[in-house]
Amino acid sequence: MSRLAVARAIAAALALAASIAFILVAPHWDKVGDIKGAQMGTYFIAIVGLNIVTGYTGQISLAQGAFMAIGGYTTAFLVTHGVRDLWTIPVAALVAGAFGFLLGIPALRLSGLYLALVTFGLAVAMPDLIAWDKLSSVTKGGQSIQLFGSKHLLGQGFNSVTVLGHSTSFNRAVYYLTWAIALVLFVVAWLFLRGRPGRAFRAVRDSEIAAASSGVHIAAYKTLAFAIGAAYAGVAGSLLVIAVAFADPQSFPAKLSLTILVGAVIAGLGSMWGVLLGAAFVEFLPVVSVHVSKSQGVPDAIYGAALILIVLLLPAGIAGGLKRAASPLTTRLYTRS
């Protein structure tokens, strides 16, 4: 193994160890706490999912929050119909993933810009869709689905829970559950992306023509990426619902999709290692920004400014550091003197 590879492996191992240490310590730090920590974990999972779709295959998806809604409501529905909450998580992943696959098919025909438009529309329209009368048998319309007190929920949502022989509070249990799943999903994604699928994904992102001519089945990989990304979001949504023990249309507003996008951009699209940073940023910025002003708009103003600055200062990083070879004519045309 070359020295560079060894150095990178060590750096990766250290980062992993530091992350795990942080995760174990965090809830004891009162600035973080169980609830915020768990929420950060759900963002983490959703961001990894978005990274797979947008960072790795280059398909712009602004609807991650909408898939979270699908996963979250799957869990809510199942728990109220007698399924143990933990078992609903994989189901939520499958259901959200299925919808992701369904969206991935028409997405094949949409250029990046149009896909962004459609997914943006989906994110904005999702709360209304959830509140639709015609779906109320599943979603209970505009009313919230309460899981609090359900015997199928860990500790009924408020009691202490026994985990591996130790008794912890509900919030703490949720925290560990979330991060355990987050870690597993992260490693799975990392392994998956390191291998042939990951290279295929990147090939699709960088040049569809080149990828196709090297035998990569573009359509399959693109829809697969969508499905996986949505599945991850489904898990995140599911965990979110479990954590707060209820679900309603306003749990998954358009803003959620955009917040996850901010996290993914901060993390560095197409790179897995910044995700922790991205999740921390979107979770804790509102907490920190209170020192600037108590106004509601401040975190948003900063999120927005952060996105703009990153695009302006690190344009290559947006597309995952891709060396998109602009055609020679384009390069010439945009030479500025």
Partner: protein
């Protein structure tokens, strides 16, 4: 029948607002190749500026005009400083940048003016009474909004079709280098595109606040989606398409709401998903929109 006509007129009025916003989106797209996701939030922001002006004693129409000017200048500045660097770059850069602007302007509106809802004191642009045209009640406000919108459209059409400036704007959008070789100051053209779009957006925002008071920071969120639908239906490159699309969507959505009471499909609740479905359908069936030009390129 009179009910139908009334609803159509009302639909045209809200459709005018969608058309205005859609037109701004198309102008920006044609000139700089970027879809401005922040079009709605910028409109809200300028509407709040207008509110501040009125609050400080400026008359309504004076504030209206001043706001349009501010928006024009602001749009030019925005393009030259913030948007220029992403033009010609991969699509995702522009998307993330304008989403960033979306979030930023939304946050600024909230921060500066707080999340309280407020009305435009004390005046409204148009009287709230209605005319009776052969039994059909046409609200003066609806008529006013429609009229101003149509006048603006005609002015813009004249600009693009018959003036040197308009041709230069189109050329700059199509080929910056060739335009520069011909002597066009492309930088200013691109800025002007954004300036025009921001000004048109300001009008849309002001009308939205007038049509559906009170003034609330989230008011343009659904309007943006309807505007996207209008722009897509018309073809992202066609200003006329955007206008026709906007009016059409306004009317259709209004009729859906009205007649839903008979259908019991709760369609009123899902206007946004309907608009979304429309967007998806048009993009899959006819990506260049109903009015888009099929550009032929000889290789």
């Amino acid at each position: 029948m009179t009910e139908l006509l009334q609803q159509i007129v009302a639909g045209l009025s809200s459709g005018s607002i969608y058309a205005l916003l859609a037109l701004g989106i198309v102008i920006i797209y044609r000139s700089t190749g970027v879809v401005n996701f922040a079009q709605g939030e910028m409109a809200t922001f300028t509407t709040f500026i207008a509110w501040t002006l009125v609050d400080h004693g400026v008359g309504y129409w004076g504030a209206f005009g001043l706001t349009i000017l501010i928006a024009l200048v602001g749009g030019i500045a925005l393009e030259r400083i913030v948007v220029r660097p992403v033009e010609g770059k991969p699509v995702i850069n522009g998307v993330i940048l304008t989403i960033g602007l979306f979030i930023l302007f939304g946050g600024l509106s909230n921060w500066i003016w707080k999340a309280e809802v407020r009305s435009f004191p004390p005046s409204r642009p148009f009287p709230t009474s209605a005319w009776n045209l052969g039994g059909v009640a046409v609200s003066k406000q609806d008529a006013g909004i429609l009229a101003v919108t149509l006048v603006l459209m005609v002015l813009l059409w004249l600009l693009f079709r018959y003036t040197k400036l308009g041709l230069a704007l189109s050329a700059s959008a199509l080929s910056p280098t060739a335009s520069r070789l011909v002597g066009i100051r492309v930088g200013w053209m691109l800025g002007l595109g954004w300036g025009l779009a921001a000004a048109i957006g300001a009008v849309a925002g002001l009308f939205t606040a007038a049509a559906a008071p009170p003034l609330d920071p989230n008011m343009m969120r659904p309007v943006l989606i309807y505007a996207f639908a209008a722009a897509v239906v018309g073809g992202l490159e066609s200003p006329i398409g955007a206008v026709v699309g906007g009016l059409l969507i306004g009317v259709v959505l209004n009729l859906i709401s009205t007649y839903d009471t008979h259908l019991h499909l709760d369609l009123d609740r899902v206007r946004l998903p309907i608009a979304l479905a429309l967007i998806l359908l048009v993009l899959l069936a006819r990506p260049t929109g109903l009015f888009g030009k099929q550009v032929v390129r000889r290789v």
